[in-house]
Structure formats: structure tokens, C-alpha cells
Symmetry: C2
Subunit: 503 residues, 2 copies
């Protein structure tokens, strides 16, 4: 048994679990707990220290979420390497701050990820807008294909109605938009009344409001791994411990989630059942049923992030998880930003009315109401059929572009495995295991080629090399040219995998 | 000495102060601590219970913020009447939930206040939009006077630039708007670079981001009393204990704030120095200096909510507090919603860069970025001078309307004292002490006259009867007619003040 001598200080206001977490950090700092070392099970620790198991678990979870310990279901808890470098650390950027639980490590992580993924001028990767030649980063759109005059017409009409609507303050959202969303969802099999619809500032605000309403610091939130870090950031901001659950060809590994739920109270599950972000796989029928049964048994709310639902308007793959949800466990989240442009901050959330009262109070306290004119303009675009027309065009374009991506990779870099996305505008490309993903990222940046490295979507360190490529923003010819160049760079970064010594 | 026997339970994760707070609630529930009873000083309590004074203070503060105890600087801590009725309780609405600290009492409060102040259909007061005859509620605008074609032109041009800007994701805000705001503030004597400007979803999001970045549950935030409950809600959402500091003819009573800061660590101060919301008074020069000296000495950040700064563009009364801020303690917050319409969710925040990094991480986690097209349109309106033209017209109109309000009240209800507002679009009207404000509110609702009762702006119960009347939305004739009617109702609600018995 490790020497973990610890006595809580009753003079301190800090709860015992926090004092224990701080004590463990001191042991790690002093080198008495060493990288790779396995900790005793929480039950043993609790007995040895004379504390409740709950207290010990919270302390360990705190350190897991701070990145100081690594937890793997069924394998135990390990001390992580002391400084986990972000993938850009090799390029001279500061490494992720490994400071303890209560610190704001996550803003560092966010800003590194903002830099890596989204900002046009990107100091980390040296990709200023003018040196950027091929942009495969997710979330990009083909802005030249926006139906500008349709948009101008819709906004014109919306602004023209301000003399009657200019005093509207509706924390739930513009009532006609709530009606239009409820109707559109009804057509997709999701029965909801306008009163259950909360208009949000994009899907991100929906995650934030849900997290603030349901999560207390230290609560466990299960997220897909690899998964969408944007949603995860909202949960972290509320103090959640993120627990990654794996993804395979059938989507979220619900069996692992069930195992997790047996050992720990899961307060919330975040999932992308239609088109898993980032791998693009769809959640299988069997898993959907198992997930809802789990939610029902354990009373766990599930966020269904149906981020590209509007892109599948005319060709729904599988019905939404929400259509199978008879126990009102699914919080359904959608957005109009994906079919229009990322700066349009109009999303929506469907929830039971009891929860909605709490969500709208938080919305009022945090931002009063969504932007009125944008909401009115979206109503115009929906009512006139112009949004649907734009979506039909986008779907045709996206299909051509995905085809160009697939063909180019098959011809130029057959070693890579391209997953067939169930929808959306991104393809998950798994590189051969002996490809140096970090080196490739540096080469690509030097050549003005931008994409999202697979590691951006992992929460507990690096996984097999992968890329997420968006095919939304570039015309087919540019996709062919850019990918051929990227494939040549990737071939140059193939290396022999180091042989493992036996014994 | 009261019998307060209490021993913390070491098996519980809850911190000791929380356990003590719960114990006190039980004593109140059981009637062993009775309404009006004065509690021993925290020093005495700490000694009697064998706890640290800090623990006792936190427990008491928790109960103060939950409304179970009332604290008055220099006078001690008292048990409040058990169920504090909201002003609408008399009308059959549920009373404010008096449940303890960790509960969500504040959403109840929010929804009651949303109902009372803002929503067009108002079930509490029976004011559906179609029975509303005179609308004096704060935050309303004269929507018929909006420069619709100017707005249409600005949005038209903004949308026309989407082919180049459609992929913009700027969590700090649209860069040209940051430049324009920095320039406009520079003209008002606030030296700041565009890098210090964070565009927010209205002023409310600025309060929310600041609260989330700086406040931990139980931290003390000093707010003006009476004061703006919108800002206060953001602080409460972050778990703050709100401490009301009084307001007199010179604005926030900084001397009381200094006394408060001597007995308790104040983490944040919220103030409206230019035009105190709701009383309309300006913070005096001497108090401004004292406030900044206090901030410097105690390292307390101050939010300066300059909500109607744009309305004073052409005639700045006093320079902003921020112009005197050499220690970077002032977080300056402004908004464009007041000069345009409440549904325009574009505000801004000026802060030191170190804090801004944290704020923008929270913004990204909670809503990614502000709405792009609205930001571009505001840039157009600023650059073309159309916004300034609109503001000049508004100021003329507001001056006429304030004049009509003043004259009518002087003629029809000279018993009321109208404070001369230093700016903005609202007047604080103090009713004679023997006027039944609750009865008046009911009468006014029955007659289709809406305004904000003074109690909406108080955090610790009822004060002398007052009304906040906006003169923005109604033409001078409507103001005269509506106020004459309201004055007649108020005269009907004058009653003889109950004589105090001596001894």
C-alpha cells in the first residue's frame, strides 16, 4: 500500500474531497506518485484513509478531469505523464497547463483548439488567411454559394416588421420561429409543441444552458470519444468531469456506457446519433434502444445533437433518437448555422416543459433573448421555401465533393481509410498507423493546407493517426488538387513503426 | 446566548458552513429562531460553536442571500419574516420560494420579474397586449420611430459581404466592430485598443461572462439598491451573494460600500455611474474617486454599466468612470440595444487583456461568437453616421417626452417627487409615503397602464413606494393622457399612514 497519509483539516472550508485531491497533487509534484503508477481502487483507498468512498471517488475524478490521472473503465486509475503536450507543443507553443483541479486549465485548451481549428489567422500553424491555400477545416462553408439575394429579401422583410415587433422580448425565442421549428420537427417524426421549443444562440448555447441547469461541479458527463470538443467545453465550463466512451462502426459504444453507469452516477450523456462527430458513423438501431433503456432505467438525460439535421431534410437517414423517446429523456438540439453560415447564431432545443422553465431562466440571466431580426429572417426563409431550395442545392454539391475526396484519396493515398459519412460535410480519414500525424500537420501548415487533426477530438491523449477533412468549402477541382498535395506529404511522413522489444 | 448546538458531520462532503446554514434553517423552520430576532455577532457565534469566524460568516451570508436573514451594515443580522411575499403574491400568485441556499429560488424570482416587467402578454397583471393602453415599462422603445430604411440598407450591405466573410468565426467579435467601438470610446476619453474590446450578446452577456470568470459560489457581489435586477440575475446565476448598497442623490453610497469591504471580502462591484438604474442619479465626483481608490486598495473589479452611453453621444454628462481608471479595475460595459431595439443583441465589454483571455474562453464555450450579420450591420450604421443621426433624433424626442411627463405629474399629482434623470429614458417617481403602491399597481393593470413598480429593483424587501416610468415609447400626448389617469388612480390610493405608538 502506498504511503498516502492524509488527514482533512477541519478548520478549512474546502470540502474533504478537495483537500484529498490537493494532497494527491502534492504527492505527484514531489514525485512520490510517479507517471504510469496505478492507484489503489477507491474502495481500498477509502478504507486506508478512513474516508467515505464517495469522497475518495470525487477526489480521484477531480484529478482525472484535470488531466493528472488517467482513468480507464475496468483498468484502474493511473498517474499521467506530468506534462501532457498538446500536439502543437513541438512547435514551440506552451504545453497544456497541468495545474490542479480548480484551475482554469480548460481555457488554455480551448484557445489552443480555437487556434488549431477555426481562426482564419492562425499563429500556431502559421496559417494566416493569405497563406491558406486549401481549407479542409470542419465548420467551413462555401460562402460563395450562399443565396445572398434570398437572404437579403428575408432580412429586408424582417426589418420591415420592426415597427410592430421592435419591442419584442421573448426569452424562449420569437414565437413564430418556435411554431415553425415544431412543425418542421413534426414532419421528421418528432412530436413536440411550440411550447417545448427554446430558440438558442446556436447549438453551443443549448449545450451551455443544459450544462448549467443539470451539472454541478464534479458530476460525470459521458461524451463520445473521439467527439465534438465544442459541446465538451460547455460541460467543462460547468465543472463536469468528462468521461470519454468509445465509438465504433455502430456509433457510441453503449455497452461501455452501461458498464460506466454501473460504477459511477452519470448525470448526462452527449451523443450525435445521426452522424457521429467526427467519425460520421450512425448509431445502430440496437444501440439506440439500449441507450434509451439505460436512460430510462437510470434516469439519465441524453443530449441528441442533430447538428446537420437540416442538411438531411429531404433524405432523412434514420429517424432521430428523439422519435423513440417515450420517457422524455432526450434533449434534442438542432441549428440553422450549418445550412447557412457559422455566424448565424440560431439553434434550438426541445425539452420537457419542467426543464425548459429552468433553461429559460438561465437564458434570461445570461443573454436575455436570441437576436430578434435573425429569428424573423429564418422564419421568412422557412416559410418561403428558400431555405429548403438552398439545402437541396447544398446536398447535391456536397455529394459531388465527397465523391472527389473519395476518388482522390483512393488514387493518391490508398493506405488511408475513409469512412463513409452518414451525412454532413466532413470525412474522417484514418491514416496508416506508421504515419507521423504531427509531422504531417507541420508539413501541411507549411504548404497552406488546413484540416483538423484527429487528436483535436480526443479527450484523453493521442489515438491512432487520423484527420477530419471538410469537403464543404472547396470546389471538386480544388479538393482534388489539395488532397493530392496532402497525400504526397503524408507519404513522406510514413515511417517504420518502432518494433516492440519483447520481455 | 441562543441554544444553537451544532456539530459538523465529518462524513458529509458538504462544507461546514453549508452544514451550519442548514442547521440554522432547521432552527428557523422549527420556530426556535423567530422572525425579527437578532442573531449574535459572527465573532460570538464562532466562539460559542468552536468554528472559524469565516465559516460562520459564510453560513450567515448564505442565509442572507437566500432571503432568510436580513443583514444591515452596522446593525446586525435578523431573521426575516418567514415567507416574504412578492408584490404580486396578493394577486394569488405563488410567493417567493424561501428554500435554502443551494436551491434555485432565483428562477422563480426571474420569471416573476419577467412577467412583471417585460413580456407583452402578462398573466400576472392581466395585461395582454391588446388590453395594454399606456406602456411606461422600462426597456421599451418607440418602435414606430426606428429608421427602418437605414436599417435595411445596413443589413443589405452586411449580407452582401457574406461571400467574403461567411466563414468568419471570431469569438472576440467582428474585428471591424471592435475597431469601431474602440474609436467611439476613444472619442469619449476611454483609451482602449481594439484588442481590449469583446463584443457581447448585449450587456447581459457581458455581466454573465464576468460573473462566470470572477465569481465562485458564496462570493460577495455589491450591487446598487435599488438597482438593475438584470445584472443581479447574472451574478446570482454564478452563485454570488448579492449585497445591496444604498443610493442617494450622489449615486451609489460608496461610504457604505467601504464599510462593507472592511467586514467582508467584496469580489465585484456593479454600478451604473452615469445614470443610476433605476433612480437616474449620477455618481458624484468625490464618490467616483473614493470608489476607484477602494478598488485599488482592495483590488476589487468594478463593472461600469454605461447602458445608455450611446444616447448621450452628443452630450456626455460626466466622463465615464473608466476614464479615471488608472489601475485597470473598471470593466466597462456598453450596448447598442438601447438606441436601436431590445432584440438587437450587440453589446461590448472593455477589460484588461489578461481577463479578456478568460472571458473569451467562456464566450466560446457558451455561445461561440456573436451574430455576424448584426455586427456587420452595426459597423455600417456607425460608419455611415446613420446611427448618430438616429440618436440625435431620439434625444430630441426623449427631451420632449420627459418634459411632458414632468409637467403632467406636477399638475396632476404634485405629491409625487420626480427625480431629474441624468440621461436615459426613464424617470424614478417617488410616491408619497402614504400611497398604497400595491393597490395602485392593481388599479393601473385594470386600466391597461403598465410601469415597473419600485420594488422590482430592490433585493431585500419593500422600500418607500416608487415607480419607474419610461417615457421612450409613448408620444407626448399619450404620456399626458396616461399619466393623468395614473395620477387619478394614485390619488385614490392615498391613505393615512398608520401612526406609530410610542413606547
Amino acid at each position: 500500500m502506498l504511503d498516502l497519509f492524509f488527514r482533512p483539516d477541519p478548520q478549512r472550508d474546502a470540502p474533504v474531497y478537495q483537500q484529498l485531491a490537493e494532497h494527491l497533487i502534492e504527492l505527484i509534484d514531489a514525485g512520490r506518485l510517479r507517471p504510469g503508477e496505478r492507484l489503489p481502487a477507491s474502495r481500498e483507498l477509502a478504507a486506508a484513509l478512513g474516508l467515505s468512498r464517495n469522497t475518495v471517488s470525487r477526489a480521484l475524478d477531480t484529478l482525472v478531469s484535470a488531466g493528472l490521472l488517467g482513468a480507464h473503465v475496468g483498468r484502474g486509475t493511473f498517474v499521467q505523464p506530468r506534462v501532457r503536450k498538446l500536439r502543437d507543443a513541438a512547435e514551440g507553443r506552451p504545453a497544456l497547463d497541468p495545474s490542479p483541479a480548480r484551475s482554469f486549465a480548460w481555457p488554455t485548451l480551448i484557445s489552443a483548439r480555437i487556434r488549431a481549428l477555426r481562426l482564419p489567422a492562425d499563429p500556431v500553424r502559421g496559417l494566416a488567411a493569405d497563406t491558406l491555400r486549401f481549407d479542409f477545416r470542419p465548420g467551413r462553408i462555401d460562402a460563395t454559394a450562399l443565396p445572398i439575394s434570398d437572404l437579403q429579401g428575408a432580412w429586408q422583410r424582417a426589418l420591415g416588421r420592426l415597427p410592430e415587433h421592435g419591442n419584442e422580448v421573448e426569452p424562449f425565442g420569437h414565437p413564430p420561429l418556435r411554431v415553425a421549428v415544431a412543425r418542421a420537427l413534426g414532419a421528421r417524426g418528432i412530436a413536440c409543441s411550440p411550447e417545448q421549443v427554446l430558440v438558442t444562440g446556436g447549438a453551443q448555447q443549448a449545450f451551455d444552458l443544459i450544462a448549467r441547469a443539470l451539472i454541478e461541479p464534479g458530476d460525470a458527463v459521458a461524451v463520445e470519444q473521439p467527439g465534438w470538443f465544442g459541446a465538451a467545453l460547455a460541460f467543462r465550463a460547468a465543472g463536469a468531469d468528462l468521461i470519454g466512451v468509445g465509438v465504433d462502426d455502430d456509433g457510441l459504444h453503449v455497452e461501455d456506457l452501461m458498464r460506466l453507469a454501473r460504477v459511477r452516477r452519470v448525470k448526462l450523456v452527449y451523443a450525435t446519433p445521426a452522424v457521429q462527430m467526427p467519425t460520421g458513423v450512425a448509431l445502430s438501431e440496437a444501440r439506440r434502444e439500449a441507450l434509451l433503456a439505460l436512460a430510462d432505467r437510470e434516469q439519465i438525460p441524453i443530449i441528441e445533437d442533430d447538428f446537420d439535421a437540416e442538411l438531411r431534410l429531404a433524405a432523412p437517414a434514420r429517424p432521430a433518437l428523439k422519435t423513440l423517446d417515450h420517457g422524455d429523456h432526450v434533449l434534442y438540439v438542432g441549428t440553422f448555422s450549418k445550412v447557412l453560415f457559422p455566424g448565424l447564431r440560431i439553434g434550438y432545443l426541445v425539452a420537457a416543459r419542467s426543464l425548459l422553465a429552468r433553461l429559460v431562466a438561465l437564458r434570461f440571466a445570461s443573454s436575455m433573448q436570441p437576436p430578434l431580426v435573425e429569428q424573423m429572417a429564418v422564419v421568412e426563409l422557412l416559410a418561403s421555401g428558400r431555405l429548403e431550395r438552398h439545402v437541396r442545392r447544398m446536398r447535391r454539391r456536397l455529394a459531388e465533393r465527397l465523391q472527389a475526396l473519395r476518388e482522390t484519396l483512393a488514387a493518391e493515398f490508398p493506405e488511408a481509410a475513409v469512412r463513409e459519412p452518414a451525412g454532413g460535410s466532413c470525412a474522417w480519414v484514418e491514416l496508416p498507423p506508421d504515419c507521423d500525424a504531427t509531422g504531417l500537420a507541420a508539413d501541411a501548415a507549411a504548404h497552406g493546407i488546413a484540416y483538423a487533426p484527429g487528436d483535436s477530438f480526443r479527450f484523453d491523449g493521442e489515438g491512432p493517426p487520423a484527420l477530419l477533412l471538410s469537403f464543404a468549402a472547396l470546389a471538386p477541382d480544388a479538393i482534388r488538387e489539395g488532397l493530392a498535395e496532402l497525400a504526397a506529404l503524408a507519404r513522406g511522413r510514413l515511417r517504420r513503426a518502432p518494433r516492440r522489444r519483447s520481455g
